[in-house]
Symmetry: C2
Amino acid sequence: MDASWLDAVKWDRDGLVPVIAQEVGSNDVLMFAFMNREALALTAERGRAVYWSRSRQRLWHKGEESGHVQQVHEIRLDCDNDVVLLKVTQLGHDPSIACHTGRHACFFQKLDGAMWQTVEPVLKDPERIYK
Amino acid sequence: MDASWLDAVKWDRDGLVPVIAQEVGSNDVLMFAFMNREALALTAERGRAVYWSRSRQRLWHKGEESGHVQQVHEIRLDCDNDVVLLKVTQLGHDPSIACHTGRHACFFQKLDGAMWQTVEPVLKDPERIYK
Protein backbone atom coordinates (compact mmCIF):
# COMPACT_ATOMS: atom_id res chain seq x y z
CA MET A 1 0.00 0.00 0.00
CA ASP A 2 1.18 3.50 -0.78
CA ALA A 3 1.14 5.01 2.69
CA SER A 4 2.43 8.48 1.89
CA TRP A 5 -0.98 9.90 2.82
CA LEU A 6 -0.35 8.53 6.33
CA ASP A 7 3.02 10.28 6.41
CA ALA A 8 1.26 13.58 5.70
CA VAL A 9 -0.47 13.36 9.07
CA LYS A 10 1.35 15.11 11.90
CA TRP A 11 1.23 12.50 14.63
CA ASP A 12 1.60 13.84 18.17
CA ARG A 13 4.35 12.87 20.65
CA ASP A 14 2.39 9.70 21.45
CA GLY A 15 2.00 8.80 17.77
CA LEU A 16 -1.70 9.73 17.85
CA VAL A 17 -4.01 12.10 16.03
CA PRO A 18 -7.28 13.49 17.45
CA VAL A 19 -10.38 12.42 15.54
CA ILE A 20 -13.85 13.96 15.43
CA ALA A 21 -16.72 11.73 14.25
CA GLN A 22 -19.59 13.62 12.62
CA GLU A 23 -22.84 12.03 11.54
CA VAL A 24 -23.78 12.29 7.87
CA GLY A 25 -27.21 13.83 7.46
CA SER A 26 -27.69 15.41 10.89
CA ASN A 27 -24.12 16.77 10.93
CA ASP A 28 -24.14 16.07 14.67
CA VAL A 29 -20.76 15.73 16.33
CA LEU A 30 -21.02 12.23 17.77
CA MET A 31 -17.75 11.69 19.56
CA PHE A 32 -14.07 12.45 19.82
CA ALA A 33 -11.28 9.91 20.05
CA PHE A 34 -7.73 9.20 18.91
CA MET A 35 -6.15 7.09 16.19
CA ASN A 36 -2.65 5.83 15.72
CA ARG A 37 -1.24 5.13 12.27
CA GLU A 38 -2.57 1.57 12.17
CA ALA A 39 -6.06 2.65 13.25
CA LEU A 40 -6.26 5.29 10.53
CA ALA A 41 -4.96 2.87 7.90
CA LEU A 42 -7.53 0.24 8.94
CA THR A 43 -10.33 2.82 9.00
CA ALA A 44 -9.53 3.84 5.43
CA GLU A 45 -9.13 0.24 4.26
CA ARG A 46 -12.33 -1.12 5.81
CA GLY A 47 -14.62 1.91 5.78
CA ARG A 48 -15.31 1.25 9.48
CA ALA A 49 -14.00 3.46 12.28
CA VAL A 50 -11.09 1.97 14.20
CA TYR A 51 -9.69 4.08 17.04
CA TRP A 52 -6.82 3.78 19.48
CA SER A 53 -8.01 3.34 23.04
CA ARG A 54 -5.65 5.27 25.29
CA SER A 55 -7.10 3.71 28.45
CA ARG A 56 -6.75 0.16 27.14
CA GLN A 57 -3.67 0.84 24.99
CA ARG A 58 -4.97 -1.16 22.07
CA LEU A 59 -6.92 -0.82 18.84
CA TRP A 60 -10.59 -0.20 19.42
CA HIS A 61 -12.84 -1.38 16.62
CA LYS A 62 -15.77 0.94 17.32
CA GLY A 63 -18.80 -1.23 17.98
CA GLU A 64 -16.80 -4.37 18.81
CA GLU A 65 -18.75 -4.77 22.07
CA SER A 66 -21.78 -2.53 21.59
CA GLY A 67 -22.52 -3.34 17.95
CA HIS A 68 -22.55 0.43 17.39
CA VAL A 69 -20.29 0.36 14.35
CA GLN A 70 -19.47 3.50 12.36
CA GLN A 71 -19.57 3.31 8.58
CA VAL A 72 -17.07 5.86 7.26
CA HIS A 73 -18.00 7.92 4.21
CA GLU A 74 -15.27 10.52 4.25
CA ILE A 75 -11.95 11.08 5.97
CA ARG A 76 -10.87 14.69 6.23
CA LEU A 77 -7.71 16.35 7.50
CA ASP A 78 -7.40 19.89 8.82
CA CYS A 79 -5.20 22.78 7.70
CA ASP A 80 -2.37 21.83 10.06
CA ASN A 81 -2.51 18.13 9.18
CA ASP A 82 -2.95 17.25 12.82
CA VAL A 83 -6.70 16.65 13.28
CA VAL A 84 -8.94 14.15 11.44
CA LEU A 85 -12.68 14.52 10.80
CA LEU A 86 -14.70 11.42 9.92
CA LYS A 87 -18.09 11.63 8.24
CA VAL A 88 -19.92 8.54 9.42
CA THR A 89 -23.20 6.70 9.56
CA GLN A 90 -23.71 5.48 13.10
CA LEU A 91 -25.07 1.93 12.83
CA GLY A 92 -26.51 -0.54 15.35
CA HIS A 93 -29.46 1.33 16.82
CA ASP A 94 -32.27 3.59 15.63
CA PRO A 95 -32.08 6.41 16.66
CA SER A 96 -28.33 6.21 16.48
CA ILE A 97 -26.17 5.74 19.58
CA ALA A 98 -22.49 6.68 19.53
CA CYS A 99 -21.87 7.18 23.25
CA HIS A 100 -21.07 4.43 25.74
CA THR A 101 -23.67 5.98 28.07
CA GLY A 102 -26.38 4.94 25.60
CA ARG A 103 -26.89 8.46 24.28
CA HIS A 104 -26.89 9.62 20.69
CA ALA A 105 -23.67 11.60 21.11
CA CYS A 106 -21.04 12.16 23.79
CA PHE A 107 -21.60 15.92 24.16
CA PHE A 108 -24.68 15.74 26.37
CA GLN A 109 -23.53 18.05 29.17
CA LYS A 110 -24.37 21.70 28.58
CA LEU A 111 -23.01 24.60 30.61
CA ASP A 112 -25.94 26.38 32.24
CA GLY A 113 -24.67 29.29 34.32
CA ALA A 114 -22.04 27.60 36.47
CA MET A 115 -23.44 24.06 36.19
CA TRP A 116 -23.07 21.24 33.71
CA GLN A 117 -26.57 19.99 32.95
CA THR A 118 -27.31 16.70 31.19
CA VAL A 119 -29.58 17.65 28.30
CA GLU A 120 -29.77 14.50 26.16
CA PRO A 121 -31.69 11.31 26.96
CA VAL A 122 -30.33 7.79 27.35
CA LEU A 123 -31.70 5.88 24.36
CA LYS A 124 -30.64 2.45 25.59
CA ASP A 125 -29.49 1.31 29.02
CA PRO A 126 -25.70 0.68 28.88
CA GLU A 127 -26.28 -2.55 30.84
CA ARG A 128 -28.25 -3.79 27.87
CA ILE A 129 -25.62 -2.52 25.41
CA TYR A 130 -22.61 -4.13 27.16
CA LYS A 131 -23.76 -7.50 28.38
CA MET B 1 -16.89 33.34 40.58
CA ASP B 2 -17.96 29.82 41.42
CA ALA B 3 -15.47 27.86 39.34
CA SER B 4 -16.47 24.33 40.31
CA TRP B 5 -17.69 23.76 36.73
CA LEU B 6 -14.09 24.35 35.63
CA ASP B 7 -12.90 21.76 38.15
CA ALA B 8 -15.22 19.22 36.55
CA VAL B 9 -13.15 19.37 33.35
CA LYS B 10 -10.40 16.77 33.13
CA TRP B 11 -7.45 18.87 32.01
CA ASP B 12 -4.68 16.95 30.23
CA ARG B 13 -1.05 16.74 31.41
CA ASP B 14 -0.44 20.17 29.83
CA GLY B 15 -3.47 21.70 31.56
CA LEU B 16 -5.40 21.81 28.29
CA VAL B 17 -8.66 20.46 26.94
CA PRO B 18 -9.40 19.81 23.24
CA VAL B 19 -12.18 21.96 21.80
CA ILE B 20 -14.34 21.46 18.72
CA ALA B 21 -16.08 24.53 17.27
CA GLN B 22 -19.31 23.77 15.45
CA GLU B 23 -21.34 26.34 13.52
CA VAL B 24 -24.93 26.89 14.63
CA GLY B 25 -27.32 26.44 11.73
CA SER B 26 -25.10 24.54 9.29
CA ASN B 27 -23.75 22.27 12.05
CA ASP B 28 -20.43 22.37 10.18
CA VAL B 29 -17.34 21.51 12.19
CA LEU B 30 -15.32 24.68 11.74
CA MET B 31 -12.11 24.05 13.63
CA PHE B 32 -10.36 22.27 16.46
CA ALA B 33 -8.14 23.90 19.07
CA PHE B 34 -7.23 23.78 22.76
CA MET B 35 -8.19 25.78 25.82
CA ASN B 36 -6.58 26.10 29.21
CA ARG B 37 -8.60 26.91 32.30
CA GLU B 38 -8.35 30.66 31.80
CA ALA B 39 -9.40 30.43 28.14
CA LEU B 40 -12.48 28.39 28.99
CA ALA B 41 -13.42 30.75 31.83
CA LEU B 42 -13.06 33.78 29.53
CA THR B 43 -15.03 32.07 26.76
CA ALA B 44 -17.93 31.44 29.14
CA GLU B 45 -17.74 34.93 30.64
CA ARG B 46 -17.58 36.85 27.36
CA GLY B 47 -19.52 34.61 24.99
CA ARG B 48 -16.57 34.84 22.58
CA ALA B 49 -14.20 31.97 21.87
CA VAL B 50 -10.80 32.29 23.53
CA TYR B 51 -8.34 29.46 22.88
CA TRP B 52 -4.84 28.60 24.05
CA SER B 53 -2.30 28.79 21.26
CA ARG B 54 0.17 25.97 21.76
CA SER B 55 2.55 27.37 19.13
CA ARG B 56 2.60 30.84 20.66
CA GLN B 57 2.06 29.67 24.26
CA ARG B 58 -0.44 32.40 25.00
CA LEU B 59 -4.18 33.07 25.02
CA TRP B 60 -5.60 33.41 21.54
CA HIS B 61 -8.70 35.56 21.31
CA LYS B 62 -10.14 34.05 18.13
CA GLY B 63 -10.44 36.85 15.57
CA GLU B 64 -7.92 39.14 17.29
CA GLU B 65 -6.01 39.56 14.01
CA SER B 66 -8.48 38.32 11.40
CA GLY B 67 -11.65 39.86 12.80
CA HIS B 68 -13.15 36.37 12.48
CA VAL B 69 -14.61 36.30 15.97
CA GLN B 70 -16.73 33.39 17.23
CA GLN B 71 -19.90 34.18 19.16
CA VAL B 72 -20.51 31.30 21.56
CA HIS B 73 -24.07 30.05 22.05
CA GLU B 74 -23.45 26.83 23.92
CA ILE B 75 -20.58 25.13 25.72
CA ARG B 76 -20.83 21.37 25.94
CA LEU B 77 -18.71 18.74 27.66
CA ASP B 78 -18.42 15.09 26.68
CA CYS B 79 -19.11 11.92 28.67
CA ASP B 80 -15.52 11.68 29.93
CA ASN B 81 -15.34 15.39 30.86
CA ASP B 82 -12.24 15.79 28.71
CA VAL B 83 -13.48 17.31 25.42
CA VAL B 84 -15.41 20.55 24.89
CA LEU B 85 -17.81 21.32 22.04
CA LEU B 86 -18.67 24.95 21.29
CA LYS B 87 -21.74 25.92 19.29
CA VAL B 88 -20.78 29.19 17.62
CA THR B 89 -21.73 31.79 15.09
CA GLN B 90 -18.67 32.54 12.99
CA LEU B 91 -18.58 36.33 12.54
CA GLY B 92 -16.47 38.68 10.39
CA HIS B 93 -17.16 37.48 6.85
CA ASP B 94 -20.09 36.26 4.80
CA PRO B 95 -19.91 33.39 3.97
CA SER B 96 -18.22 32.58 7.24
CA ILE B 97 -14.48 31.97 7.49
CA ALA B 98 -13.05 30.08 10.46
CA CYS B 99 -9.76 28.85 8.95
CA HIS B 100 -6.54 30.87 8.74
CA THR B 101 -6.25 29.74 5.09
CA GLY B 102 -9.32 31.85 4.29
CA ARG B 103 -11.61 28.85 4.00
CA HIS B 104 -14.94 28.28 5.71
CA ALA B 105 -13.61 25.48 7.87
CA CYS B 106 -10.27 23.84 8.59
CA PHE B 107 -11.24 20.36 7.35
CA PHE B 108 -10.80 21.01 3.64
CA GLN B 109 -8.54 18.06 2.79
CA LYS B 110 -10.42 14.92 1.82
CA LEU B 111 -8.86 11.50 1.45
CA ASP B 112 -9.37 10.34 -2.12
CA GLY B 113 -7.82 6.90 -2.61
CA ALA B 114 -4.31 7.47 -1.28
CA MET B 115 -4.25 11.26 -1.74
CA TRP B 116 -5.40 14.22 0.31
CA GLN B 117 -7.35 16.48 -2.04
CA THR B 118 -8.27 20.07 -1.24
CA VAL B 119 -12.02 20.23 -1.76
CA GLU B 120 -13.05 23.60 -0.32
CA PRO B 121 -12.44 27.03 -1.86
CA VAL B 122 -10.50 29.94 -0.38
CA LEU B 123 -13.15 32.60 0.34
CA LYS B 124 -10.68 35.37 1.10
CA ASP B 125 -6.95 35.63 0.44
CA PRO B 126 -5.10 35.21 3.78
CA GLU B 127 -2.86 38.14 2.76
CA ARG B 128 -5.95 40.30 2.88
CA ILE B 129 -7.09 38.78 6.17
CA TYR B 130 -3.77 39.22 8.01
CA LYS B 131 -2.40 42.55 6.89
